[in-house]
Symmetry: T
Subunit: 74 residues, 12 copies
């Protein structure tokens, strides 16, 4: 009942600008399809290089969200 269960999904957010923006882009996209987002954790920071410049920052994220009780869903 009050013992909530959470699910953790893993995504990769990207940005041309930097690490913070890649996190925000990933969270914003997750927010479009998942409810009750609760926390995130950065799992890795990578990037794609083109012509010696950083084309994309790629930030791996675990995103946790509370699963709603199925009784209320039906």
């Amino acid at each position: 009942m009050t013992n909530h269960t959470y699910r953790v999904t893993e995504i990769v957010g990207t940005s041309h600008e930097g690490v913070d923006q890649a996190i925000r882009n990933g969270i914003a996209r997750a927010q479009q399809t998942l409810r009750n987002l609760d926390w995130f954790e950065v799992t890795q920071v990578r990037g794609q290089l083109e012509d010696g410049r950083i084309e994309h920052y790629q930030v791996g994220l675990k995103v946790g969200f509370r699963i709603e009780d199925t009784e209320q869903e039906s």
Copy 2:
């Protein structure tokens, strides 16, 4: 055919009582929406403290389940 594929989902089960109960609560919730649950693995044990007492045990779990063949699903 007989080479089954499994999916691994990550959840966090919680309990006021202890680690074993948090595992059981998480598995019970996963069981409501997933079929063919096969194994779990504990990834971390954390907890929330309030007024110096343990308010919730939070146990991270990877849960593996067999994916049914899509032919049979259709």
Copy 3:
């Protein structure tokens, strides 16, 4: 817009023959239900033994795929 977000799902592919085939079986199964598969990463290699022989190779895989924009989905 051009800052794609990717999702990472974890599966276990299996095979009677070996590691490469277990990877291919897992990817083939993932391909049946997921679009825009982009990369995979092996997380572990295990196997089941019966009568002293290898019954199944079991290869853990993280599989990344690009999430399509929700505007285009609707």
Copy 4:
């Protein structure tokens, strides 16, 4: 101001009975000298054996607590 800072201290709680009780004993002792305890995380579970029995469960814990603002800030 509203950006709190937390400190993480590492302790080992022990118990003759089991893992949950060792966690509770460690937290209870930490509570005697630390204010604003917020969360814990289990880092390892070990034990001492004597005459083939478990003499003590020893559970490593990271305990996080909010640091109060110093007088200098006000």
Copy 5:
């Protein structure tokens, strides 16, 4: 002489009931064939699921025991 050497063996204890009992079962079995058991360390906690319930808790343990001096030394 007084510089003892220890050996570390790895086992998996199992139980229908929970983590603590799986540890105790594994240690009890190790005690049947090994002398001078000294300590244990939990390496992983897994479990087998059947019909959505936990059939077995499986707790990986490293068990350390002091090696007695061989007759050649005396």
Copy 6:
């Protein structure tokens, strides 16, 4: 004498704005009570989500500082 000893303390700095600011906030707070701060190392980057937005960035930091010689040594 010239063989200094350092202590490493673990903190979590937080910020509404981003990772760099959370590091700076944590260091600024540590500076209020610790002397001779020498280096830091990021241990993890997490965050709290509310209504689908990042409420707080939480950056785990190990902070090293030189311990001054005690009076007893002189």
Copy 7:
């Protein structure tokens, strides 16, 4: 009784041909002296180079096997 205990032994299988064959060679050798082999897990893949060619693949394996009850052994 039905709570079996397993032992995990660590070996390194080798082969001139490749990773799969090194696994099979190691398991085949373990099978000569151990009963009730149940599973394996690859811990590392290395190799020896001579004259710029791969002389041996060396695959580290943890091999689990069920320990028979001592009552039945006597």
Copy 8:
């Protein structure tokens, strides 16, 4: 032929300003002497403290670049 080989070199980029700038500085310097830079991965984030302020951010990076075919191959 089309099976490219990549080399991975490890560097530490530094900056007075923050994590993103330290990444950019390190990549810019690597670009001066290496061709065909392809990706990077952050391995650690550290910093040097002086008088309680962050003197330098130090970001460890693995940088991958494609090795061009040697003349001998053609």
Copy 9:
């Protein structure tokens, strides 16, 4: 009562001579301010180089010590 709680503090011992001496220097310094030291664990071995020679060995140590019961308990 007899369930002692331990605290783990992290230090870095240094020496011009070598790893063992850096451990001893770190423990000797910890001994000046902490009672009931019980064990240590090496977390990393690093060193500072100057003019191509090792100027300082730096050995990271976790040091565990038993916390005495507070007066409130008696």
Copy 10:
């Protein structure tokens, strides 16, 4: 003199066929420019997916080789 020093370089070998071939391709390329190759160690196995098929296996390798004495080099 007889205390050889080895250098460890990190590469990524690729192949359309599988893991073993990607290792062999990477080693063959390293052999073109490095002498005295001694051992390798697999650090990761990844792959690129296109149209749901494995386009490239990418195997990370640490390759160790003995450094010749500089006296002999001059």
Copy 11:
């Protein structure tokens, strides 16, 4: 045939003097009961403290040795 299999056993060597001596003591003890010792790898360095001094260095070791063919053993 020429594809040898190796076994890896884990021990803890101890010494009053230092890390190197603890390694040597552990290897010397292993040598009394195992043939064909081939390599070792340090897994951890710990120590026991008494009255603020290092009573024992404890060095965890994985020791690899070649298993002789069973045909030759009979």
Copy 12:
């Protein structure tokens, strides 16, 4: 300008005598071909056994050195 970039190279130093000497041998050899050596970090300690004795200690080292600015920058 004052934001130096460092490169990290990985070597294995060896010695018949012990861990400290293997570190010194590796650093001395690196010093012959690299300028501006700044720090090292031990990544692993292994050894080769022959006739039950330690033939070589093998110490893995990451060695960091400052990259000098290229002429193009001035």
